[in-house]
Structure formats: structure tokens, C-alpha cells
């Protein structure tokens, strides 16, 4: 150790193969986390090479460095504030023009840039030829050829990056974009004021600052005000003046002018380095789209894929789930025999192992689900799904991409809410997060199965189906309601690239899957652990109470009654009983109430709590609970009301934590809890009281 360190950032357009190159460089030595304060994934990896500790940072994929989306702001701030030694700009060779747009902006920021001309082989088959030497000369930037998916050029790229970092501190100032005379005039006027007033306090390149002020860059304005205080007022004043001058002169917003000019500059470069033969090519991707986004069969195929994803997740996932369940059972019974009776043993077995076990068991589901999502993303199908679904989602005021998180909500709300980070606009993301809990997650299914199975017999399937439907309808209503009130404003523009289809690489799929599953385990494992200890404590204390009969002397047959009364007398029981006035108008007795309260930890606990409280005798499994429920005075109507309540009421602990994390505020978390629970109560109230009026029981 003690080696010299270098920070290398990877920038590039989405779909430029940036992540593949990142994976090639860092392999499995990468950390996935979040950028501070926001929910965009940050990937970082460290390797030892050429006598350096190289830290590689994968910046979010962006088309530009204008601060419109979080991704762009993050990428820009990183380059500006963290001053990486080298920025590698990954350029998709078959999309040279658009890639260069980002490149020119990187050059303006004043950092050491290196181009990786990626997928040149693919471009070649499309008849595209790029003169790399000329490109390097024209922009004064080293260029390296890479083929990400064949892992070619990775070493050369790193070597070139290290060489560039070593090569003195001069950054070539020539060969940047020159704007037209009027704009350049404004830039230089502004530059001199900036230099005079705030030059010493400004850590950024002065020309770049001037250009950005002319473009009315809000974020930069804020940071200038913060850094230079009152001195900045003159500068901002001048910037406004120059802006209005350009606006008058060209009858167009200055930022449109500068964008046009950059493209003009790029067009000049393209003319010299890029040639395309008129060779008629067969575009495989286009042919695939003839089928997959076809007017008639596009939707059926989409639903087939989604159906297959769910089948895989839940049917294939059922096997490893069973194994994990068995392992937990073995562990628990092993410890039961091994440890002496104590409060610690009770905590370990009934609190920790039972609680954490109930979450770990979902790991196979989550992994398969994320594997499928990774396939959708890596092949390029995800954007087609958004393309197909946008019209429908737009009706709820959402973006086509919101469909995937909402759909995943049927599996588990936690990854679903995490998946909402694929949405660019903050409002879209929050709205999606708020309505996702209405998608009935798989953990609620056992509750429906028990209740519907017990009270509705052969019609159980249709009843459960309509419960799901109620959730969907309420999500649509909520979406429209919030879009026109709380989260007013248009949804994000749907300007989206449909990248060419690519064969996914198994390595990248696995990395993708594992990164996200790890997040699930880490974050949710911790919360669930604490939650299960709390719930255990609430239901295990107070310990020294006077029971109605002396259970210790009686036979095994009544231990279940002992358990039931233990819970009734516990804090948890008190909570349930206190809440009874709230639950009785919706046809749920205190035991149901307690079960619902414990469901806050995880929805499937509702079933096990009911099992204990309704004192299901120690026969075998679900039959026992069924009989107990039937004789408890619950009616089909109150069962239906309870199902509706379970569908809608406050999301589970892990989901609540995910909402907090992904919206970044307690405000939305509490809002979600309050909104969902009150909707649940009203819906259940309508079902129960309405049903009674209609004469059902």
C-alpha cells in the first residue's frame, strides 16, 4: 500500500456500454451504493494497476450535463467538485454525433478527458468508419478503441488513462467549441466581470462559468451565490443582461442557441472523421421490433413475458423457499433442544429467528425477479415495455416506465419501490412510490388464501382476484387525484431512446441481480431484525401476569390456550384491545385487530398471529386455523372486510423504510402510512356496513 492514488470517472450516454466497461475493469471488486442524498445508484471499484490504486467511478449515464435530471446533476457535480484525475468518456461509435455532444460539454468543464470509442466493431458492420486519429487531433483528446462485450481494449484504456493523468497538469484549452460572434462577445464580457469580482473564490473554469450563466444554469447560480456572496450579484446582473441581449438578437432562448452551436461544432468534426458507406444493412434490432412492438401481437407478447417473469419468480422460487424454510425449522428446533429455557431463548427463537427467517425466505423470489428485470434492462426490452405501456400509464399521470415498479409491487413492494428509481422526474418517482403499495404484494396472499379459503370455498379464487382488482382501481384513482393536487404538473417528457437490442451478458446479469439482492438483505434484514425484536417484546411482556387458570399444571392440550391468553394479556394484546373501537365498525374483533397490528412487521405475520390468537389447536397446519376461524364468529362479510383492509392498510415495516429511503423524506413516509390506512379503513367500512345494509352477513 501507500501507492499513489488516481480517481477515474466513467461518463457516457445511456446504452453506450458504460456499465459493461466498468464491469470489465473492476470485475467483482465493486461497491454499489447511493450518491449522497439521492437515490441514484453509485458504483465504485478499486483496482491495483501500473503502480497506482485506481478508483473507478461509474457516473450515471447522461446525454448532456445540463442540470435537468438528477443523473445529470450528479455526473456534473462529481466532475466539478471531486475533480477526478481523468474522465473517460465512453462513446458509442455508431452514435458518434450524439455522444460527442456530451464530450464537448466535458471538455468545457476543464477536466482531463479520454475517449473510449466503444463498439466500433458493431459500427463497422453497419458500414460506419471513424477516423480515430483525426478525431483525437481535432479535439485534442486521446482516443482508445474498446469492445465492451468482448472485453477488448480494457487494458489499453487504463494504460491511456494513467498516462494522461501523469502528463503534467496542463489541460489543452484549444479545440473547444467556439460559439458565434454575438455569443462569444457576451461570454468574454461576462468572463472579465467574473474574473474581476469573484475569480478568486470560484473553483470552476471561468469560461465554463460564463457559458453556464448565459444558459441560466440555476444550480451554478446558487453555488456562485453561496461561494461568493454579494460579490456575485454584479455577475448575475450582467449575465441577465447578456441573456436578454442574445434573446433579442436571435429570438430564441440562449440555451437553445448554445446547444445548436455545439451541434454545429460537432457537425464539423463529424464531416472530417466519419464516413458511412451506403451498404444496405440488415438491422436485426429493427426486425425484432417489428414483432415485439407490433400493433397486434406487441401487447400479448409483453404480457407473456410478464407472466413468465411472475411464474419464474413464484413457482421456481417456491423450491428454494421450501429449503430455506426447512433449514430455518431445523435450526430453530435444534436450538430449542440445545438451549435451556430462558427469556434469551424465547427472544432468539420466537423473535429473531422467526422474524428474520420470514424475510430471508423471500430472497429466492427477489433474486429471480431481479434477474428477470436485469434481462429486460440489459437486452433493451425495458424501454419497449415503457413504449407499449406509456399511453395507459399516462392516463394515471405517470410515465410508461412506472409500469415496471408497479407491476413488481405484486411481488414485493420493497424492490418495487426501489425500482422506481429508474424514473427520471422526482414527481413521477414519488407518485409511483405512493401508489405502489396498492399493488397487492405476495406476502398478503397467504392472508387472502386463509380468509377466502375459509369463508368463500370454491369462489375463493374470484374473491382474491377482485381484491387485487380493487387495489388496481384505487391506485388509478389515487394517481389521478395526487397528480391533480399534491404532485401537480405534467409528467416528465417521454423523449426516450429505444436502444438496439443486445444479447445480455451473463456476468453482468449476475452482478446486477446480486447487487440489488444484497441491498434487500442488508437494508431490510436490519429493519426486520429490530422490528421483530420489538414485536416479540410487545407480545412477550409483561411476563408475570395472573392467568385465568394455572396452565403450568395442566396438560399439553391446553398450551395453545396458554399461548392465546399470553398474547391477550401482553402489550400487543392491549394495543389490539385499545384499538377495538376502531376495528369493530369494519367487522374485525380484537384478535383480528392484533393480527393486523403485528402485520406491520410483515404481512404474512398476520396469518401466524391469527393462528396463535384464535388458538388453533395443534392439529395440522391450515385446517386447524380454518376451523378456529369458522367457530370464532367471523362471517364471510367480515372476512371480506378484513381482506380489503389488509390489501390497503399501512405498508409493512420494510416497505415503509424503503419509502423513507427512496423519497428521502419522513414527510412522504408518514403521508403514505396515514393515507393508506385511512383509505383502508373507509374501504373496509364501506364493504362491511354496505354489505350489512344489503343483507349479507
Amino acid at each position: 500500500m501507500g501507492q499513489k492514488r488516481l480517481k477515474i470517472a466513467l461518463a457516457g450516454n445511456p446504452n453506450s456500454g458504460k456499465t459493461t466497461i466498468f464491469n470489465n475493469i473492476t470485475g467483482t471488486r465493486q461497491k454499489v451504493g447511493n450518491w449522497p442524498g439521492v437515490t441514484v445508484e453509485k458504483k465504485e471499484g478499486t483496482i491495483n494497476k501500473y503502480g497506482y490504486d485506481l478508483t473507478i467511478i461509474d457516473l450515471p449515464g447522461t446525454y448532456s450535463l445540463t442540470p435537468f435530471s438528477i443523473e445529470e446533476i450528479i455526473a456534473r457535480n462529481f466532475v466539478l467538485d471531486e475533480c477526478p484525475d481523468v474522465v473517460i468518456d465512453i462513446i458509442d461509435a455508431s452514435n458518434l454525433e450524439r455522444s460527442l455532444y456530451l464530450a464537448t460539454q466535458l471538455r468545457e468543464i476543464d477536466c482531463k478527458v479520454l475517449f473510449a470509442l466503444n463498439m466500433a466493431d458493431l459500427a463497422k458492420t453497419r458500414g460506419i468508419k471513424i477516423n480515430a486519429e483525426k478525431l483525437s487531433e481535432l479535439l485534442n483528446v486521446p482516443v482508445v478503441f474498446t469492445v465492451g462485450n468482448k472485453n477488448e481494449g480494457t487494458d489499453e484504456l487504463l494504460k491511456a488513462a494513467v498516462k494522461l493523468a501523469e502528463s503534467g497538469s496542463e489541460i489543452p484549452q484549444e479545440r473547444k467549441v467556439r460559439y458565434n460572434k454575438d455569443v462569444e462577445n457576451s461570454i468574454s464580457k461576462l468572463q472579465s466581470i467574473i474574473k474581476k469580482r469573484i475569480g478568486k473564490k470560484l473553483p470552476y473554469n471561468i469560461r465554463w462559468t460564463a457559458i453556464k450563466l448565459i444558459e441560466d444554469d440555476k444550480i451554478l447560480k446558487k453555488s456562485i451565490l453561496k461561494k461568493a456572496g454579494d460579490d456575485a450579484q454584479d455577475v448575475l446582473q450582467e449575465a441577465l443582461l447578456q441573456r436578454s441581449y442574445i434573446k433579442d438578437r436571435f429570438d430564441e432562448e440562449p440555451e437553445i442557441i448554445t446547444t445548436d452551436e455545439r451541434y454545429g461544432f460537432i457537425a464539423g468534426i463529424i464531416k472530417e472523421v466519419y464516413s458511412t458507406s451506403s451498404k444496405h444493412r440488415i438491422d436485426i434490432s429493427r426486425n425484432i421490433d417489428l414483432v415485439l412492438t407490433n400493433r397486434f401481437i406487441g401487447f400479448p407478447i409483453f404480457f407473456l413475458f410478464i407472466w413468465a417473469m411472475f411464474q419464474l419468480t413464484f413457482s421456481l422460487g417456491a423450491y428454494p423457499m421450501e429449503w430455506i424454510d426447512m433449514a430455518i425449522g431445523l435450526l430453530s428446533s435444534g436450538l430449542d433442544g440445545f438451549l435451556p429455557d430462558s427469556i434469551f431463548k424465547d427472544l432468539l427463537l420466537n423473535g429473531i429467528i422467526a422474524g428474520v427467517g420470514s424475510v430471508i425466505i423471500f430472497l429466492p423470489n427477489i433474486m429471480i425477479l431481479f434477474f428477470c428485470i436485469a434481462i429486460f434492462e440489459d437486452t433493451g426490452y425495458m424501454s419497449r415495455a415503457a413504449f407499449l405501456m406509456d399511453k395507459i400509464m399516462h392516463l394515471i399521470g405517470l410515465h410508461g416506465k412506472s409500469f415496471i415498479p408497479m407491476l413488481m409491487g405484486f411481488g414485493c413492494n420493497v424492490p418495487a419501490i426501489m425500482a422506481a428509481r429508474t424514473l427520471e422526474s422526482e414527481k413521477d418517482r414519488i407518485l409511483t412510490i405512493l401508489i405502489t403499495p396498492f399493488m397487492s404484494c405476495s406476502a398478503k396472499l397467504p392472508v387472502y388464501i386463509v380468509l377466502a379459503g375459509t369463508f368463500f370455498g370454491v369462489r375463493a379464487g374470484s374473491v382474491i382476484f377482485s381484491i387485487y382488482l380493487v387495489g388496481i382501481v384505487l391506485s388509478i384513482i389515487t394517481g389521478r387525484l395526487f397528480r391533480s393536487t399534491l404532485l401537480k404538473g405534467a409528467d416528465a417528457p417521454f423523449v426516450m431512446e429505444l436502444p438496439p437490442y443486445r444479447a445480455p451478458m451473463i456476468k453482468s446479469l449476475l452482478i446486477h441481480m446480486w447487487d440489488r439482492s444484497k441491498m434487500f438483505l442488508k437494508k431490510m434484514g436490519g429493519i426486520i431484525l429490530i422490528g421483530s425484536i420489538v414485536v416479540w417484546a410487545l407480545s412477550a411482556f409483561p411476563r408475570n401476569v395472573q392467568y385465568s387458570s394455572d396452565y403450568s399444571t395442566e396438560t399439553n392440550k391446553v398450551t395453545v390456550f396458554h399461548e392465546a391468553e399470553k398474547i391477550e394479556r401482553s402489550f400487543m394484546g392491549s394495543i389490539g384491545k385499545t384499538l377495538e373501537p376502531l376495528f369493530s365498525p369494519i367487522g374485525i374483533d380484537w384478535r383480528g385487530g392484533v393480527a393486523l397490528v403485528t402485520g406491520f412487521v410483515a404481512k404474512e405475520i398476520v396469518v401466524s398471529t391469527m393462528g396463535v390468537l384464535y388458538a388453533a389447536e395443534d392439529e395440522k397446519g391450515s385446517e386447524a386455523l380454518k376451523n378456529a376461524l369458522l367457530s370464532s364468529g367471523m362471517t364471510p362479510l367480515s372476512a371480506l372486510s378484513m381482506m380489503v383492509f389488509v390489501l390497503l392498510y399501512l405498508p409493512c415495516l420494510a416497505t415503509v423504510a424503503a419509502i423513507k429511503r427512496e423519497t428521502g423524506s419522513f414527510k412522504w413516509m408518514f403521508f403514505s402510512i396515514a393515507y393508506n390506512t385511512s383509505i383502508a379503513w373507509f374501504a373496509a367500512f364501506c364493504v362491511y356496513q354496505g354489505g350489512k345494509i344489503l343483507g349479507f352477513s
Binding site: N95, E97, D260, R286, F387, K391, H394, P493, F494
Partner: protein, 75 residues
């Protein structure tokens, strides 16, 4: 003619782009520029959004966004 009025399979040249700053710029950043040739590849099964090809890139736009773009030389 507006881009949103073009039919599947038609090709034209972009004449002007209206709309507010952010959306306009976003459209430019995706490489949809004045003068570029655009080809309407297809409309989504529900008629919205639409898919177009500009300089070999496939880009989707909502119909309401496409109605901010004027085209000429439509063939």
C-alpha cells in the same frame, strides 16, 4: 406539417421546434435537430407514443411532444 401528423413510414426534415426550454433542449440533446431527417418508424399499439429514427437512433416521443415539432419535405 406537424411531426405528429406524419404517418407511419413517412420521412421528413425538421423545420422548427417549439415548446418550453427544458423539453426543447431535451429534444435537441437526443439529436433531433433543425434540418435532420426523421423517419416515422411506427406508432405504439395504442397510437401513442411514436417511434422515430433520427440519424440511425430510435427515439420515442409522445404525440403531444411531437406536435411541437414542425417538419417539411414530407415523403
Amino acid at each position: 406539417m406537424l411531426l405528429s401528423e406524419m404517418k407511419e413510414g413517412q420521412t421528413g426534415n425538421i423545420k422548427s421546434i417549439a415548446g418550453n426550454g427544458a423539453l426543447h433542449r431535451r429534444i435537441l440533446e437526443m439529436g433531433i435537430l433543425k434540418g435532420s431527417e426523421v423517419h416515422i418508424e411506427k406508432y405504439a399499439p395504442l397510437k401513442d407514443p411514436l417511434e422515430l429514427i433520427v440519424k440511425g437512433c430510435h427515439i420515442s416521443l409522445r404525440v403531444e411532444e411531437a406536435s411541437l415539432i414542425t417538419v417539411d419535405n414530407v415523403k
